[in-house]
Symmetry: C2
Subunit: 251 residues, 2 copies
Amino acid sequence: MTPTYSACILIIGDEILSGRTQDANLKFFGERLAALGIPVREARVVPDVCAEIVAALNAARAKHTYVFTTGGIGPTHDDITTECVAQAFGRKVVMHPEAERRLRAYYGERTNDARLRMALVPDGEDVVLIDNHISVAPGYRIENVFVMAGVPSVARAMFEAVAPTLKGGPPVYSQSIDSHVREGELAPALSKIQAAHPETAIGSYPFMRLDKLGTSIVVRGTDKAAIAAVIAEVGAAMRALGAEPVVSPPP
Amino acid sequence: MTPTYSACILIIGDEILSGRTQDANLKFFGERLAALGIPVREARVVPDVCAEIVAALNAARAKHTYVFTTGGIGPTHDDITTECVAQAFGRKVVMHPEAERRLRAYYGERTNDARLRMALVPDGEDVVLIDNHISVAPGYRIENVFVMAGVPSVARAMFEAVAPTLKGGPPVYSQSIDSHVREGELAPALSKIQAAHPETAIGSYPFMRLDKLGTSIVVRGTDKAAIAAVIAEVGAAMRALGAEPVVSPPP
């Protein structure tokens, strides 16, 4: 299952690395992009340091179909994403007229230089604003990079604004089957099932619920029939070990 | 505030990238390592693909004081971390006698080849086991890399087992001050305060609570007196904008 389309999520911000803030964007992007046939194949969290942001962004945009950045596009001194994105693309930073218009219309006489920083974008006619129906200040797309806010509600709104424009492969479906069999007991059968079904990716995750250990098997792929076949084989292997599996609804 | 000591967290696993699983380790490591004077300055999430794991690990271990990996050391076919770590170090994979002894003692007649895979480590007398008092199967240290489980309770137990052996700088403290002032109104004053206090890092994070917008300012640094001075200045700036700040307890 080697995807043709792939995405990288670039999470920008000291607050994620210091542990102050729990990232809530990666899980959302992972699920939404899989559904669009653009599996997330890499994520990086970088500090508010321009050289780090530039290096990570340039590596990611060369490697993946799309890159989504979150964080660092607000009005304060620690919001340095746009100058770093511009640097990565070798472009100047300019005020985007439409972004400026939206901010002035929203803030009225409370418009100030700090807020107008949120209208800055890298230079170039190919830069397209990403609407923000939550708090007005837009994100933007430049080539295959989508520059978005870090606040989860705003990041989600921006993602849904651009989702219809993304080009992906067949959606990646998943189904899970859980039981109170131990991972190490199921492992031999699971290896054989994976070898027989290379068109799916089988993940095995131990869990503890109500003090009872068990294993959750997640089957992912683009072919629903193949997923169903693997789920059936894993179920048989679980029953052979004396466990009664619980299967999630088919995708 | 350029740290001498730094850490990278390397999160290994398709399940984090697909959105199936919410990562819960980065926040924990970020907080614990900051307290030990080893700020986390990078995190990467990589899929269960050996070439990706090797490349990320080699980049990270050359750049940071310490690297902590999570995930992929269980008994199933998708647990490939150890063979990738060995590859990154150009070493063979061998059975660690003490790890094997622990697993056999724990599993008794339920020991099988899959479970014994959890006793595999890269070759070398410098490889040191990391105790796992939750589920026995150990992690290990190789040079500046700590290879740990992905399950948060086990990752935490392993981290606490190695924490006393880590060498760090002065601990990084933080204190926050929140109020219902808008980020864009506070920004000009905040820029001046940051410029006057380069020994601290001031982060600004907008929030919405009870439908009211506000800003949380987080001040981080190794000098408690400098943090207190910055908090006082930010408080004065917030009051000048008509807001009543709430300050977290001093570090």
